[in-house]
Symmetry: C2
Subunit: 396 residues, 2 copies
């Protein structure tokens, strides 16, 4: 009973495969500072659980396949505040941003169709593309130029007749890159010229720093039929355990086909939808404090990383990740060594080696991703251990 | 921007496409008895919401991709009571039975691989198979022989070198068929002989009537590596709005590959998992009353349907559906006519035409599915309207 080609070729999540080593380190009694995962410590707004605690129906029924009206309404209100006018026939609720991407890929990709993605990328994009038998076409960037990918010539160089879509995380995971208005305009023009979809993963929309504006692909009317926005409550409201995402698009043909998949899986969690409606209804001022906290952490982490001799690191403008190049040949080896053979006063550190965030073999081997979602003292200590570890690693 | 072949060929859910007509009827002021959907009116056990209301963490975090330990433990306990011993490495929590099936198909089907299914079938199976570019091979049954499909010769006749799996809902939706021990043994032997997976959708396991035993495919050790059980809390605990299902299999190679997909989508709803753990921990006696209620409804509905002249209907043994053949050429036309042109004292009825439950063109056109999930008086009135409607329809 052979398994499918797509699943046997699919790699294990690079973010999670190092847990074995971290667990061993913990079993040895070491404290491990986990700079690797995007699980924020910011409190989930109380409105979420309050809305759920108030649920008092006798029967926990299926929600409508397209999503509960009160949640869709609250999302429409949120977008309206950003000058984006969508109707309820343009918002589909999904089981997290993950299901949103799975549905989109299934709807637009035939076997062998290509999807452009800047590398390093959010690795799970590959899972969703692979499930639809699509092919990743990487748009290669590097640490030295700050992982900049919005270059017309570079983009045109990877376009082929099989290009169906460009997946853009903006702000981006793992690089924290944020596109300018001009860059977005250019990408829209290229998408029109070569006729492909723009899949805009804007789940980190609220986390843009240095007073910069967040521009959404949803703000460009001339490409409204080819823009597909992916959204989620997970990071925006620190509600990762609520599996509520959405697909927002003005392409009605695409929408009606997405609906077939949504109807096939019946519905999303009723309670999570009720709680999420309360989240989207929060005052916009809610984000001020959260954003300030992340921006502060970004500054602290960046400044501390810059003290490491030989590091290549640009200050990210958004999201809550920083990707940088360490003065080691192989960051994976370094991480495993840190977990197995190193400690400073009984403590060590975990981060994400970035090689798995690249499609091109050999790239990213010296790079790592850090998620700045922990409190300041823990992050500083984690980076200090990286620095101490690097010295010891060189002498080993 | 062409959409994928798989999605454009995919049909809209036949269960939901008649809502347009039902909504029009309601807008005209008609009361519509909805015998069409599997949304039970049985109360969700209070333990579910109680467990969730007690959740008091500051941050609603991601659950582990494979599922929360307390839920997996409670599922293991439930299976143990049925003499089935699984370990925690053999249970994967999913976003409902729907995601379970999506993952399974993605893991076992290459494009063009075939999946055997008795027809009429649960139509969403087709969605999950199509997403993996698989092909449905129907095992045709008919109302006259009670939709019986467990016939060795008939099964062997549809097996080809491309057969990868046999999907079996047991008890079955939409027929209510329940397999005997001998039939299960025979199917296991055929699966071994021709080397394919058995995907056993046992979500209706607790609803088997007439004092019959429920036999699980999980009870046969010699096929443990090829049996994949799909489970869900939706129907079993009347908790459809909680999107918690599971995949249970002793095939460790399959399991580790399923885990790649689970990690790709990060996690299932944390709160729904907490509530569902409480459900699986309920005393087995919980099911006695629920089962008695469904069995009573089954009897009532069946007896009432038998009064309709010209109906072909066998008493189902499980689940909460009954499929039967009406004395009309086209049940879809009849339904639309009932909603648009008929009422009795301002009331009409909705059911599911069964043609969409068949892959073979032209089959099932006279058949309908009724879900007996409403209270007795409503169901009796619904069937009475079908009877009155049939008389008027003939004379139209």
């Amino acid at each position: 009973m052979k398994l499918s080609g797509r699943i046997t070729e699919m790699k294990q999540s690079p973010i999670r495969k190092y847990y074995v080593y971290a667990n061993k380190a913990k079993a040895q009694g070491k404290k491990v500072y986990c700079l690797n995962i995007g699980q924020p410590d910011i409190k989930t707004p109380k409105a979420f659980m309050e809305a759920i605690r108030n649920f008092d129906e006798d029967v926990l029924e299926y929600a409508p396949s397209e999503g509960m009206p009160e949640l869709i309404e609250s999302i429409l209100g949120y977008y309206k505040r950003y000058g984006m006018n969508y109707t309820k026939e343009e918002v589909l609720i999904t089981n997290g941003g993950s299901e949103a991407l799975t549905f989109i890929m299934s709807c637009i990709l035939d076997a062998g169709d290509e999807v452009i993605m800047p590398e390093p990328y959010y690795t799970n994009y590959v899972t969703f593309i692979s499930m639809a038998d699509g092919v990743v076409k990487p748009l290669t960037t590097n640490a030295e130029n700050g992982y900049h990918y919005a270059d017309k010539d570079k983009i045109e160089a990877v376009i082929t007749p099989k290009t169906k879509a460009f997946v853009i995380g903006n702000p981006g995971n793992p690089t924290g890159n944020v596109l300018t208005r001009e860059e977005i305009r250019m990408i829209c023009d290229v998408a029109k010229k070569y006729d492909f979809f723009i899949i805009a993963d804007e789940v980190y929309r609220e986390f843009v720093y240095d007073g910069k504006d967040m521009t959404s692909f949803g703000q460009y009317e001339d490409v409204a039929d080819r823009v597909i926005i992916v959204d989620s409550v997970s990071k925006r409201f620190s509600a990762c355990g609520a599996r509520i995402g959405s697909i927002i698009t003005k392409n009605s043909e695409l929408f009606s086909n997405l609906l077939k998949l949504a109807q096939g899986r019946l519905s999303c969690s009723t309670l999570d939808q009720i709680g999420s409606a309360a989240l989207y209804n929060l005052e916009p001022s809610y984000f001020n404090e959260v954003k300030a906290e992340y921006e502060h952490r970004r500054n602290v982490v960046y400044d501390e990383l810059c003290k490491i001799k030989g590091i290549v690191c640009e200050k990210p403008s958004g999201a809550f990740y920083i990707t940088c190049k360490l003065p080691v040949d192989n960051a994976e080896d370094f991480l495993i060594w840190l977990l197995e053979n190193f400690d400073d006063k009984g403590e060590t550190v975990m981060f994400s080696p970035a090689e798995g965030f690249y499609a091109t073999p050999g790239l990213g081997r010296s790079e790592i991703r850090i998620a700045y979602v922990l409190k300041e003292t823990d992050m500083l200590r984690g980076i200090e251990i990286i620095e101490l570890g690097l010295e010891a690693y060189k002498k080993r």
